[in-house]
Amino acid sequence: MNTVRTSPHIHGPLRTDKAMLLVIAALAPSALWGVWAFGLRALLVLAVSIAASLLTEYLLGLVSKEFTLRDYSAAVTGLLVGMNMPPEIPLYIPVIASAFAIAVVKWTFGGLGCNWMNPALAGRVFVFFSFTSQMSSFTLPRWLQLDAVSSATPLSAMKTAVTAGAAGRSTDLLAGTIPNTDFAVAVADKLGISPYAVDAFFGNVGGCIGEVSSLLLLAGGIFLIAAHIITWRIPVIYIGSFAILSWIFGGIPYGLGAFSGEILVPVFSGGLMLGAFFMATDWVTTPTTPKGEIIFAAGCGFFTFLIRYFGSLPEGVSLAIILMNIITPTIDRFVKVKPFGYVKKPREKKEAKA
């Protein structure tokens, strides 16, 4: 007896669970860099986040009788939560974040495919507003620690300086507050850019565990694009629109005037790379049409810019993406694809009045 099924009888290489594993693989280099930079404590945070996320998924599976650990989406959520935590965070905070992400944001709405915002980001934002001081105390990578263990991120240090009335570029604002590696100073001298941009690119700055090395995040993102899991549209347009807005208007709050804002330091710091390549490209919470993706990404860029430069928070990536996640169903509803051979429906002629 032959097996009968509907066409097509072959299938492409893409599969949800395998795609999730590839996302984990793409995130791994950056996560490992975090562990290398901040020590084994960072590894513990990552492990606790993932374990909490898997456990929540399993326990809720007992309730709903759906066992979905095999699709690995909970593992991705847990890893992303962990990578969004400062390395010295008390361990109950990532547990709360993971549980909130899986239980409230994902499971309540129907599980994978039904969540209306990125679970990992929602978890991060939830604990950020609940435990603001713990969530914003960072440490420097081991090799930059001199006497002070804790330090601010470049963005928050710049925000503090500007709020206090200072003005200028990152080199002026951060001198003395945040150290540079000798390598960064040398490279920056050659290229004529800020050494803070170089350090942020290579991951020699304080920040959340998984967001510091822009280079490795970029590599992971390009890998995902090459594997056809994400498209180039969201990351490129997100980062591009943010960079353009930063250049045009970003100088204003820093007393530099229009068309002279810094680009490299803001682009390489504050989790923008992690957000643009791994959070804003989440399948479930982004529009399905190419045009919708463009609107979504441009919106992310705009809100990130707005929050970072004109809001009270130093970082805006997570809030900007969540905001656009909420708008996504509306985008998908109104942004239509033009079908092949589209014919405009003739307008019904109004009856001439007698």
Partner: protein, 435 residues
């Protein structure tokens, strides 16, 4: 050189043509029994004119066209009608079929060449209709209807479809390689019927040897034919995508290729037109590729219409142990058949014996948008599928469900392995019923 193709969507499955690409055409010895369905084509089934016990001769009409969109059916062999029964063909249609027991000796009355060049378009068209020719790419639309150009319309381009974009299939390729002069003459006969401004043969770039051979032969005969190599992309062999790829026009939704000034004809159809016009031979046999990982010996076979798939499989050395499904047609749009005794029809260009090709993975829709990106018709399969799932057929139709041609690009890419095409087939059927 940048090759032409259609712009939107499409997928790139592994073409697997190397399995049967170099297998020369061979003629199947007459099987003992043929099952000739009256539903060989798109449109109304033909009306059977023979009874049980009647003798039939090869090429004799045994079913007459029932209406305008229909076609005559001819006996593929000399023999006796042993039974009339209702038979399911590959597309799922059930219709009356004549079971013919073939005589051991078969006649071949089509050896004399007839001149066609002096004939008018109408005379050639009548020949095409009388010989029961239908589109041999798989859709089996009656060719005489397709080649009838209504008053006031002109054909800017006659496009010959040598794309064969479905993986595994090589029947058109073998025709082009082994019978280039014949198919080109068939193209010129079709051109004499529709009098187009341009004649284009579209062939995908994985068959560059066919491109070279046909261009050389066309030049040698002095035919005004352009042979156009196209970038490999599924579903380029679809009429609408091929028109877009070759002349850059989009057929308006719900309209025919003629509304874009084009007539598209398959390569196998051109071969049938040649035999009809030159030898007055009806369409009673065709080339079929028997391939797949689980057939012992892939082959390209010329077989009479009505041959049972089991006879073809036996001729190719039988199934291997890992065979799981038998698919009539290509792997993207073909029909899995449950019964190996299903007979070949005029649209059967391929028969695949496949091992397990798709795993049982399933997950909910994750809204990744791959189906939207890959839909060549610019539809939103995810939304249509959701509406069909909840019984909202009208909403799916408003989203363009009727423009869907079930090419399978969406289901091919879907990471959650959703049965999208199955949903659309169901939605179309139930949606039509509701109206």
């Amino acid at each position: 050189m940048k090759l032409a193709t259609f712009r939107r969507g499409g997928v790139h499955p592994d073409d697997k043509k190397q399995l049967s690409k170099d297998k020369k055409l061979e003629r199947l010895p007459f099987p003992s029994e043929l099952v000739v369905s009256m539903s060989e084509h798109l449109g109304a089934p033909a009306v059977l004119t023979k009874k049980k016990g009647d003798t039939v001769t090869r090429g004799e009409v045994i079913g007459t066209a029932a209406g305008y969109i229909s076609a005559d059916v001819h006996s593929p062999a000399d023999g006796v009608v042993t039974e009339i029964r209702r038979v399911r063909v590959q597309s799922g249609a059930v219709a009356e079929a004549a079971v013919i027991r073939c005589n051991p000796e078969q006649s071949d009355p089509w050896t004399e060449k007839h001149p066609w060049r002096g004939m008018s378009g109408e005379e050639l068209l009548r020949l095409v209709r009388d010989m029961g020719i239908v589109g041999m790419g798989g859709a089996t639309f009656p060719t005489a209807v397709k080649l009838t150009v209504p008053m006031g319309k002109t054909v800017d381009a006659l496009i010959i479809n040598g794309v064969e974009c479905e993986p595994y299939l090589t029947s058109d390729y073998r025709l082009m390689i082994e019978r280039p002069d014949e198919v080109l003459e068939g193209v010129m006969i079709a051109a004499a019927i529709v009098s187009p401004k341009r004649i284009i043969i579209g062939i995908e770039a994985n068959k560059m040897d066919a491109v070279a051979l046909l261009s050389e032969k066309a030049a040698a005969h002095g035919y005004p034919i352009e042979v156009m190599p196209l970038k490999v992309k599924y579903p380029q062999g679809d009429e609408k995508q091929l028109i877009k790829a070759t002349i850059g026009r989009e057929v308006p939704s719900g309209k025919l290729p003629l509304d874009a000034g084009a007539v598209v004809c398959n390569m196998g159809t051109c071969n049938a037109i040649y035999e009809a016009a030159v030898y007055h031979k009806p369409l009673i046999e065709r080339v079929i590729t028997v391939s797949g990982e689980s057939i012992s010996e892939p082959k390209n076979i010329i077989a009479p219409i009505g041959t049972k798939f089991s006879d073809l499989i036996a001729y190719c050395g039988g199934e291997k142990d890992d065979a799981v499904s038998v698919v009539a047609g290509g792997p993207m749009m073909g029909f899995a058949v449950s019964d190996d005794d299903t007979p070949m029809v005029k649209g059967s260009g391929g028969l695949l014996v496949l091992p397990r090709m798709i795993d049982d993975f399933s997950a909910p829709c994750v809204l990744c948008g791959k189906c939207v990106q890959h839909c060549p018709m610019g539809l939103q399969p995810n939304k249509m599928f959701r509406n069909i799932k909840y019984g909202n057929y009208q909403a799916a139709i408003d989203l363009g469900l009727m423009d869907c041609k079930e090419c399978g690009c969406c289901a091919y890419t879907c990471p959650s392995h959703l049965p999208l095409v199955q949903g659309f087939k169901l939605g179309k059927k139930l949606g039509r019923k509701k109206k």
